[in-house]
């Protein structure tokens, strides 16, 4: 496991993330223009979606894949309830902040997922393209659970409701990811041959650029937001992914998933959203403080998963799969 952890930590992608993180913490003046980072984010969604679609076209849809999809949706619905209960019992966060933070832990981080796919390939395990579809399915159910948990704090105005539904259903990450997945699935091997020069071969390099930006973003969030987080809340940002991954590991064993599939499902469960859910929370639970939930998901959980979490999930999945 130590070898795997070192190989993951010393990959260019993770090193660029650490460069961005340390540069932001040291207050270095590095800024990637907003238009570039947003463009790169859309590129990554397209590349990941297409890659998953091409693999689904090659392997087809079967009962196991449908079972994993249902498991992903169930995890997304239930993990926020566990996260909420833990936050309410172990921290002094108000109910509304706890509900908003909990939603992030049922949804997913697509960049963590991509980093895990790279680590899985590095470990010599089989990648499972259909898990991109599972990732897309896990983006939004957590938001619904958070709204149920927050209950009476939900805004009553019709405008807010309409805005939330639009934000959740038409969030760029969901639309582009699902759209690219379908395009990849429909076009299959022919489509892959046409776009691989843009969307497959350069993916690693573009991911380095994006993770530099994510490191900067996480570092800035930590620098400004850490005072708002109690030690117990920071601890939650580290142990919650491990709990989520453990639950996913149990499901993986029950479904008889391969080590690669299991590691990716664990990573999806363990990752926390920092794009779709924060935007939805500003509409659905505007009283919740973004400084708390964004710092927690982007500043604590995201770096943890990238550096230590992924090697742990791969090692556990290898152990489970025998």
């Amino acid at each position: 496991m130590l070898d795997l952890a070192l190989a993951t930590l010393l990959s260019p992608v993770i090193l660029f993330f650490l460069l961005g993180l340390s540069a932001a913490l040291a207050k270095a003046d590095i800024t990637i223009p907003e238009a570039i980072s947003k463009g790169v984010a859309i590129y990554l969604m397209m590349a990941i979606g297409l890659k998953g679609g091409f693999e689904m076209a090659a392997n087809g849809l079967n009962l196991k894949i449908v079972s994993v999809m249902i498991t992903g949706v169930l995890l997304s619905f239930t993990l926020p309830a566990i996260a909420y209960a833990l936050l309410r019992t172990t921290t002094k966060l108000p109910a509304i902040d706890a509900a908003a933070a909990a939603a992030h832990y049922g949804s997913i981080s697509i960049v963590t997922f991509v980093a895990a796919t790279q680590a899985i390939e590095l470990a010599g395990l089989n990648n499972a393209g259909y898990l991109v579809a599972v990732a897309a399915l896990m983006e939004t159910p957590a938001i619904m659970t958070a709204l149920l948990l927050a209950g009476r704090h939900r805004p009553k105005s019709q405008n807010g409701e309409t805005g939330l539904i639009r934000e959740v259903a038409l969030n760029a990450s969901v639309v582009v990811l699902v759209g690219a997945l379908i395009i990849g699935w429909v076009t299959g091997a022919d489509g892959k041959a046409q776009v691989q020069g843009v969307f497959i071969t350069p993916l690693q390099g573009v991911l380095c650029l994006f993770l530099l930006e994510m490191g900067l973003s996480a570092g800035r969030g930590l620098r400004h937001g850490w005072r708002l987080l109690q030690p117990a809340t920071i601890g939650f940002g580290i142990y919650m992914p491990l709990i989520s991954a453990s639950i996913a590991a149990v499901f993986s064993a029950l479904l008889g998933l391969s080590a690669g599939e299991s590691a990716l499902l664990m990573t999806l469960a363990a990752s926390a959203s920092y794009i779709a859910v924060p935007a939805a929370m500003r509409i659905a639970l505007p009283e919740a403080k973004p400084s708390i939930y964004l710092t927690l998901s982007l500043g604590v959980t995201f770096p943890f998963n990238l550096t230590l979490g992924i090697p742990i999930y791969i090692a556990v999945s290898q152990f489970i799969a025998g």
Partner: protein, 101 residues
């Protein structure tokens, strides 16, 4: 020159569309939206592009109109700002063409 009121609203991105609807419903149909680059609020510095979720992005909306229209908008904006992040201010300004406002 003609005296009018200038409404300036700093509003978080996720509530911008609702603010626009309020202004349009109040017949303030000549407003302009400017990007907010950086600032300080709620005990921390913020900067546009700090995160990809747009959850902390803000815009500045400038609208000029007569007192009736501005007051109509202010009543609804007050309700909106009970839950969403924003700052509203009104000042007296002089305009050249009265019929435009």
């Amino acid at each position: 020159m003609h005296t009018k009121l200038r409404l300036e609203l700093i509003i978080e991105h996720m509530a911008l569309n609702r603010a626009r609807t309020i202004l349009e419903d109040a017949k303030l149909t000549g407003y302009t939206i400017l990007p907010a680059i950086a600032g300080f609020g709620a005990g921390r510095r913020w900067r546009s592009g700090d995160d990809l979720s747009m959850a902390r992005e803000k815009s500045v909306v400038v609208a000029i109109g007569d007192e009736t229209k501005i007051e109509t908008a202010l009543r609804e904006l007050h309700k909106l700002l009970e839950s969403q992040i924003g700052v509203v201010s009104v000042s007296e300004v002089k305009v050249l063409r009265d019929e435009r406002f």
